[in-house]
Every structure is written in structure tokens, then in C-alpha cells.
Amino acid sequence: MRLKRLTFKGGVHPPERKELSEEQAIEALPLPSYVVIPLQQHLGAPAEPIVAVGDMVRTGDKICEAKGFVSVPSHASISGKVKAIEKRPHPVAGEALAIVIESDGKDEMSPNIGPVANYLALDVEEMKKKIQQAGLAGMGGAAFPTHVKLSPPANKPIDTFILNGAECEPYLTADHRLMLEHPNEILEGVRIIMKILGCKNGYIAIEKNKPDAIAVFQKLVNEAGDNLRVVALNVKYPQGAEKQLIKAITNRKVPAGGLPMDVGCLVHNVGTAKAVYEAVALNKPLYERVVTVSGRGIRQPKNLRVRIGTPFQNLIDFCGGLSDDTVKIINGGPMMGIAQYTLEVPVTKGTSGILALTSSETRIAEPQPCIRCGRCVEVCPMNLLPNTLARLVEYKRFDEARELGVLDCIECGSCAFVCPSKIRHVHHIKFGKLEVTKMMKAKAA
């Protein structure tokens, strides 16, 4: 297999703005006085609380239990007292049930946490169970339960694992810092994952704008003599989208409506790989993660290690607060992240960044009529007709939207990024997807 065309068709080149935070080593955010831990931080069924108001918990104690296979538990991220179990603002869902824990300031650890001897010799099922019990969900944004991804059906063997270090979203540098500061843990995570999958080919995919990270991994891989290859990807958004990444590296095309496993591939983000290592080798549940706090609205952009459930306000305060011309707060990157209406929302397992954007760097323009310039069509990495899809949804012609592949949209936002008419394609398409799914369910029933 030759590795020549390390990119995909379509895509855009947004300004990277990574310089704001890429030099900032990861700092630990001081413990918050309280945390808000939503029952749903992953795709799938929400977890069920197993603590009651008034209970005392330690850091790393399980506080809610997974419900069904596609679900993960969550853990206390600080020690203290359960204050409430109630609806709270949620960065993705608007509002959702959450467990509020008031800190006792001691950060007392759960006794379950500790190194596991000879963890690589563990049984595969045992490893998966640990990963599930540690509450792992993809940390790149979509937050799909990790153990589910690691359990492909027997008829879909995985032969290729790809570590996604592309971090193609502008501004975000958390993965970049993780790769520089914790490469060994990440690699160990990769080895565990490959062992679970029993797959032979492993790729470490990093965009060329992070030459230092590429060098670090190249060196480590050479030394270890692993069956791993470091791949330098062309810088283009959305290079880190699973389907585009797989195409760039293996030249395989995930079928429309399919999953990476349909072409024998699996992709995990670097943060997830590190968490896999911690879950299996240290019995450490996912109660903290690294978050990039950036944007021109942030006085001192940083990369922070943060307890899950910490309100956005704490991170922003620690970074010097907001500038007066901040107009938008985003959970995630500027291309796919979600705008927030309050700083009370907590960091969740999927929060890769918190951005404060000023009016000069964000877009708040009234949509104009489509002038059919074709730019959106040109950049769509999924080869869709974004202008047509947006219009069909607007006219509520969902049947046609479905035929034109509205469900295949990966919501990367490239179309809206280049649109001179500032049309909100992703907004329309997301709505269209909901309606189409409803329609299909109604038909099936």
C-alpha cells in the first residue's frame, strides 16, 4: 500500500489561529468549588444516578450507571457532597439532568484507582470492560461510547487502526499538547486498542502543521520498533473527519450510511487513546480532560487539564476573563462547535475547547439569497449539493432532501464557511436530518 495522496477531495482552509495557544503547556485548573456532571455526555442512552442528594463521594467514584450497551457511566470528578440532581444547562443538549457535587476541597481519591500490574496481559474482554467502566466516550467531539467502537461484530474484522491526531479544527491545540507532553501514554493506549482489535496495521495520523508532534512520535515508534506508522497529513479541514481520514490514509471509502468498520478501519482520537491507557493500566475513570481555552475574546489563551463538570466560567476566569467585544462562546471548535448562551454550562467528556470569539473573528450576518456560485458544492467533502439541501429543507421537501443524501452530511460546516451569501447550511441540514429520521421511523412503524 502506497501512501501518496494523503488528503481528500473538497475541504477548506480556514485560518488556523492555533498560535494563540499552541505554545501553552497544559496547566491544571484549580479545583472548582462545585461540578455539574450531566447524566448524558455521550451518544446513546443517558446514565442513571446511583447516588442520592446528601451522599458523600470521592474523586473517581461512580455516580451514575450505564443504561444498556450503548451507554457509559460517569464518575465524581471531585470529592464532596451530592448537592442536587436536577436539570442544568448542558453545552450540547441545552438543558439536561445532572448531578451537582459540592467540593469538600480535599480531592480524596477513590481507592479503586491505582496501577494494574502487567495490564497488557489482561484478557481482551476484561480490557473492554475496564474501558466501559471508566466511562470512556470519544473525546474528539461526537462522544460515542468507546467500548462500543471497540466491539465490532465478528463479520466486520478490523485490520487497520488510525490514531487521529489531525486536530483540524482551527484554534484547538489540546490534542497537539497532549501529543507533545504525553506521547508514551498515548502510544500505550494505541497498543491496548490494537490488542483488543487484534489488528495489524496502525497509523498515527498528524497534520503537517504540527511537525514537533510528528517528530516525537516518529522517534518513539522507531525506538519501539512497533508495527506503527506515523503519517503526516496535508493541512486541510476536515482532515480529521473519520471518513476523510480513512480515505486519505488507506484509500478506502466508507460506504455512504456506513461506519469505518465496514472497510475494516477504526479511528480514535488521541485524547481517547490516552484515556484508554489510563482506564486499563491505572484503573482511572474519565474524570478529567484537556481543554483548549482560546479565541481573541480570551485574554490569556491556555490549554487546561480540567475536571469534568467544571463550569465554563471557571476556565474563562482562570484565563484572565473575557474581552468586552466577545460576542460568542463556543463549546468545541469554530467549525463544528456549539454556541452557548450561558457560562454556567459544564465541561463534558466531549469538550475539546472553549472559545470566546469577538465580532471581528466570528460571523453574525443575515443570510442572503443563494447566488448559486457553486463554492459550497466545490468544498463539500461528502460530494453533496449543500445549497440544494439547505433550500429543500427550508421548503420542507424532506423526501427530496433524503434522496439527495442529507443524512450523509457530516456537518463539517465547510459549505457555510465559504458561502458568500452566509447561508446557514448546517442549521438547515441538522433540522432536515431530524425530520428525515422521524419520517423514516414513522414509515418503518
Binding site: K243, P255, T342, R363, C373, G374, R375, C419
Partner: protein, 371 residues
């Protein structure tokens, strides 16, 4: 204090393009050709362009005001329509021709469909078609020969010749006395008459000879491909200088406001077909370079067939559209009733765009064919 943030859908950043930027980009790209028009045809050409733009903008503003709709003239699209309309009329038309043409383009060709983005056909070309149908004489008589106006201004002639922008014409090449029909015609016009004559007098060798002599005269009229290229020929205001149009086109391509697929396939098709079928001595005796350089092809191919609103959004669609325009243009030029076919071919192809878009939809990433 809370809730002051904007909560709109992703993405939250965008590149710098906007409708006005694109439209004024097109205007900028047309500046060389506009200046060239004034140079070749005199100040009157300037007035024609000014009236056309003013009329387009005013028509749009007035109608929108009457309909109590937001006034959109600032987006620049009416300005573009005005300029393109002016570029498609002869330099010496009376002032009310561009006035009516632009008003028609906006009032009939654009607003009733819902304004910018919704019009199925290029408004400027629709305006021109209307003018041609209503006042054919004004629209087909080209009184002014290029640069002739300068001879009436000795001071200016002297000044321009100092800048080597003008050579007084001792050979009288531009007067061509004795061949009246040629003196007021565009090269394509003459080509058409010649071809018709050859067909009509096919059995009369003496006539064919005469026509062939006339052909020599045409070549004198444009003298060389060079004159066609630089623009020293009769024609509509904006279509004569291939050179100046290309400068603007390069700018548009550089800014990525147009893609090469439409102009290339359009011009290529015209070249190939006119080479095969355009000659008087059988197949493959045509003069493709003449057909490419003469008339409104360059203006049409780079500035009007590429009109975003009225051309396909898909890449394959662009090629089909261009080839379609090329075929119709050559058909009209060679066997139709008009000497020039660019406007009509683009207008006709405009109507096929929804169909082209539908059938050239790119295959969704990962889509298997039979599903």
C-alpha cells in the same frame, strides 16, 4: 449580564467573501474593457454605459421601494447587469436604448422571479434580446469605426499619438471606400453575408469570385487577427477587444469568481465546430481563430455564460453548459438568421440549468451505484 451571547448554528467562522465583494470584483474586472470601449468608440460609449448602470440601479431601487421590499442595490448586482447590458449594444445607440434595456433587464428579467439568485436567465442578455427584437435597426448598425472619433479631435489625436495610443491612418484602412456594406459592419456581419452569398450564388462561378474578393476586403477590415485581438474592429461596446476582456477574465479566475470550465468548453466547442463546418471549401476549412476572436464570444464566454446565478453549480454541469452554448452559437452563426449567436445560445442554455444540475449531481462520497 448573561444571555448576551449570540447563539447561531456552526460554523462560527467564515471566509471573507460576500455578494457585494463578488459583484464589485466583476465590475473591477470589466474596467479595462470599459476604458477600452471609450478609447475605441469615444465618449458616447461612456455615456451609454453610465445610462445603462443608472437605469438598472434606479429600476431596482424604485420597484423594491414600491413593493415595500428591502432595497438591494448595494449588493452590486444591478451595477453588473447595467454594465453588461451596455457592453452588448452598439456604441452609437441613442441614449434611451440602454435606459430601456436595463430597465427591462431588471424589471422583467430579475425582480419578478424574486430578485438576485432566483432569475433563471441572465438579465442583461434578456434586456439585449428585448432591444434586438424591438429596435433591430438601432441594435445592428455599427456606425462608428474604432478610433474614428479621434480624427474629429485633432488635439486629442496629437496627444494620443504622442503616447503611441493612436496612429493617424494615412492608408485610410478604416474608410475602405467603395464597399459600403462593410464600412458599417462587424467582421461577423460580413462573414455572414459572404457565406449567405456563397450559398445563394453557388451555381454562378463569377459571383462566387466576387464574393471571394469581398472576403479579401473583410480581412482588410480587421486586417489581421491582431486587430481582432486588440480590438480595432467594429462591434458592440464591450466585445471588441479580446485582450482587455482577457485581462479582466484573468483577474476573475485569480479571485476564483469564475471557473475556467465554462469559458474553456464554450470557446473550445466554437473553435472546433467552426473549424469543421465554418469554411467555404468543405469540411475542416473553417477559420476557428476568426470565430473565436470575432464578435461577442469572449465577452459572452467569460462574463455572461459564467454568471453564477444562471449557470450550473456542478463541475460536470459547467462543461455541459459550455459545450451547449458553443454548439448553439455555431449553429446560429453558420446557419441561423443572425450573424451572432452568443446571447441567444447563453439564454437558451440558461433554461436548461436546473436539468443539468439535477443530472450532474456528484456521486455522494462512499455511495455505491446500484442502491
Amino acid at each position: 449580564m448573561e444571555k448576551k451571547w449570540f447563539v447561531t448554528a456552526s460554523p462560527h467562522i467564515a471566509d471573507q467573501e460576500s455578494i457585494p465583494k463578488i459583484m464589485y470584483g466583476v465590475v473591477i474586472s470589466l474596467i479595462p474593457a470599459m476604458l477600452g470601449a471609450i478609447y475605441f468608440f469615444g465618449p458616447h460609449a461612456g455615456w451609454v454605459m453610465l445610462v445603462a448602470v443608472a437605469s438598472a440601479v434606479a429600476t431596482e431601487a424604485i420597484i423594491e421601494k414600491l413593493m415595500k421590499k428591502p432595497i438591494t442595490v448595494r449588493d452590486g448586482s444591478a451595477v453588473v447587469t447595467g454594465i453588461l447590458l451596455a457592453m452588448n449594444v452598439p456604441a452609437e445607440v441613442p441614449w434611451w436604448i440602454p435606459l430601456i434595456g436595463s430597465a427591462f433587464a431588471i424589471a422583467i428579467g430579475k425582480i419578478p422571479f424574486g430578485g438576485l439568485g432566483y432569475n433563471p436567465m441572465n438579465p442583461a442578455l434578456l434586456g439585449r434580446a428585448f432591444l434586438l427584437a424591438s429596435w433591430p435597426t438601432h441594435m445592428t448598425i455599427f456606425k462608428t469605426r474604432p478610433l474614428e472619433w479621434i480624427t474629429h479631435h485633432p488635439g486629442l489625436a496629437q496627444f494620443l499619438s504622442k503616447l503611441s495610443l493612436y496612429t493617424p491612418d494615412p492608408t485610410g484602412k478604416f474608410s475602405l471606400s467603395g464597399i459600403d456594406v462593410i464600412t458599417t459592419a462587424t467582421p461577423l456581419n460580413v462573414f455572414k453575408q459572404q457565406k449567405d452569398a456563397i450559398l445563394r450564388f453557388a451555381d454562378d462561378p463569377s459571383m462566387t469570385e466576387k464574393v471571394k474578393t469581398a472576403h479579401e476586403a473583410i480581412s482588410q477590415l480587421y486586417d489581421s487577427y491582431g486587430n481582432l485581438f486588440w480590438g480595432k474592429i467594429g462591434g458592440c461596446i464591450g466585445e471588441t477587444s479580446v485582450f482587455l476582456l482577457l485581462i479582466g477574465a484573468i483577474y476573475l479566475i485569480y479571485k476564483r469568481y469564475i471557473r475556467l470550465r465554462i469559458p474553456l468548453s464554450y470557446i473550445g466547442t466554437v473553435a472546433i465546430l467552426s473549424w469543421i463546418f465554418g469554411g467555404v471549401d468543405g469540411l475542416f476549412s473553417g477559420d476557428p481563430l476568426f470565430h473565436v476572436l470575432a464578435g461577442g464570444l469572449m465577452l459572452g464566454a467569460f462574463y455572461m455564460a459564467t454568471d453564477m446565478v444562471t449557470s450550473p453549480v456542478t463541475s460536470a454541469g459547467g462543461y455541459i453548459f459550455g459545450i451547449g452554448c458553443g454548439i448553439i452559437t455555431v449553429l446560429i452563426r453558420l446557419i441561423g438568421g443572425y450573424p451572432e449567436g452568443v446571447s441567444y445560445s447563453i439564454l437558451l442554455m440558461n433554461l436548461t440549468v436546473p436539468l443539468i444540475d439535477r443530472y450532474t449531481k456528484p456521486k455522494t462520497f462512499g455511495k455505491v451505484k446500484n442502491k
